[in-house]
Amino acid sequence: MSRLTGLLPLALLLVVWQLVGPERSVTFPRPSTWLAGLQAMYADGTLLPAVGTTLLTFVASLIVATAVGAAVGIVMGASQRIDRAFTPILDFFRSLPPPAIVPVAGLILGLTLVTNVVIVVIGIVWPILLNTISGMHDVPRVRLDMARSLGLTPLERLTKVVLPSLAPRIMLGVRTAASISLILTLLVDMLGTGDGLGRQLLLHQQRFQANAVWGLLLVTGFFGYAANTLIVVGERYALRHWPEGRR
């Protein structure tokens, strides 16, 4: 109920817009025409592949970045010496605005579907990596000692002690990475030659088809909302063994 009242101003705005807005406009076309724009894109077969491409880039890059970031982070965080040795390099990549990676990496790798994923991964892996490293430092010593005195193998120590202890920090990094990925996934598409949502947005903007642009904004907004919800659900699942306050 409270969710619905919270959407009231937005809904009201759309209704007023629909009633007084112009039918054809290059800036603010009526909301009903957005759906017509999407309908046209669906009919000529560009909408679904675009959603698919963007979804694939987003999900694949997030999975790869999580795996790589967590794995490298565990290795680097295990030794204070390695961690220190790479601190200046990591500090640089942490402060580099992620979009700057796209033209540089694009020149070297080219912008295709596979390299798009690679480039997005390069842009988003840092928060996951850094959180894993600092998480490694915070794993209580007593847990590691206990694992050793219980005679766990190194693999068991990793899966039963280290990874569960790191889960909250890794998820914190994943959440930051996901919000950067939403930017980069669309950007590689806009700057490259892909056929994702970013490209479609830019194409229709260049043709001044405002209704299609607003329609695509609706789709992308829904995409962002869904991605956010997915992360929250994923986090709750990954941290299901953690008491509420300690996450």
Binding site: S2, L4, T5, G6, L7, L8, P9, L10, V26, T27, F28, R81, R84, A85, F86, T87, P88, I89, D91, F92, F93, R94, S95, L96, P97, P98, P99, A100, I101, P103, V104, G106, L107, I108, L109, L182, I183, L186, L187, M190, L191, L197, G198, L201, L202, H204, Q205, F208, A210, V213, W214, L216, L217, T220, G221, F223, G224, Y225, A227, N228
Partner: protein, 258 residues
């Protein structure tokens, strides 16, 4: 912790080693990508851009937009966030709308902003403000809501008026949360400014990256990328310092600014 620890000589040795290996690999043509310059090439590209003055102009443009946009975002965001935190009815009416609006990827708004405002300076600023405002709104609302009820009793005892209460009690108490939001805002504004320069307003570091990429001058593209990293680093370091300075009462702000 000693000076050696703070200077981290091993760390800088690794940096120098990495750059050296990169130089050798490119020179020896073991790494053979058509558009991967050697570090010495990047350095000369850097020199060219410095000599022509383009780099400095672009750097100042991007920094200026980031500062302007975050100032606007903080001003509007604190007002909006305080209203959400203080007025329950307003919060009930807007919370879900804020959630919807803030999750819209900023990149998707750029084409819409281009249609409405055109490829101009103001479009770049507007898009950057949009991206920067949400962390301020959310953190301010949370901070204001968490003000201890006893502080309101204090305000009543001193017979403070409404605006006085806001200025002397509520905002100072919420300041740590507001500062966290402000820091996030500056970082988002910088990132989105770079993107907007790539797609909207052909100026600044973002445009420099794209312009040199399209001209197939990778050493200059790298020079721009390194510059943007240095800018990000400087901005971050300044923010950490500023937040530590601005926090009242010398609290342990590492807990707050995480």
């Amino acid at each position: 912790m000693g000076v050696v620890w703070r200077l981290n000589p091993t760390g800088w040795m690794v940096v120098i080693l990495a750059i050296g290996v990169w130089e050798v690999l490119v020179r020896a043509q073991i790494l053979r990508y058509a558009y991967l310059p050697a570090p010495s090439g990047v350095l000369s590209g850097f020199g060219d851009l410095l000599a022509s003055g383009a780099l400095l102009v672009d750097l100042l443009h991007t920094l200026g937009v980031a500062v302007l946009a975050s100032a606007l975002a903080i001003a509007i965001g604190v007002a909006l966030g305080a209203a959400i935190g203080l007025i329950p009815l307003f919060a009930a009416l807007t919370n879900a709308s804020v959630d919807v609006l803030r999750t819209i990827p900023t990149l998707a708004l750029i084409p819409v902003a281009l249609l409405i405002f055109g490829p101009e300076f103001r479009t770049e600023v507007i898009v950057a403000v949009y991206a920067a405002i949400w962390p301020v709104v959310i953190n301010t609302a949370g901070g204001v809501r968490a003000v201890h009820p006893r502080l309101y009793d204090v305000a009543r005892t001193f017979q403070l008026s409404g605006p006085e209460r806001l200025r002397k009690i509520v905002l100072p108490a919420a300041m740590p949360a507001i500062l966290v939001g402000g820091r996030l805002a500056v970082v988002s504004a910088l990132v989105v400014a770079v993107v907007a320069e790539m797609l909207v307003n052909p100026e600044g570091i973002g445009w420099g990256l794209i312009r040199t990429e399209q001209a197939l001058r990778p050493e200059r593209t790298w020079a721009y990328a390194v510059t943007s990293g240095a800018l990000g680093f400087a901005v971050n370091a300044f923010l950490v310092f500023a937040v530590r300075r601005a926090l009242p009462g010398g609290q342990d702000n590492r807990a707050v600014s995480r």
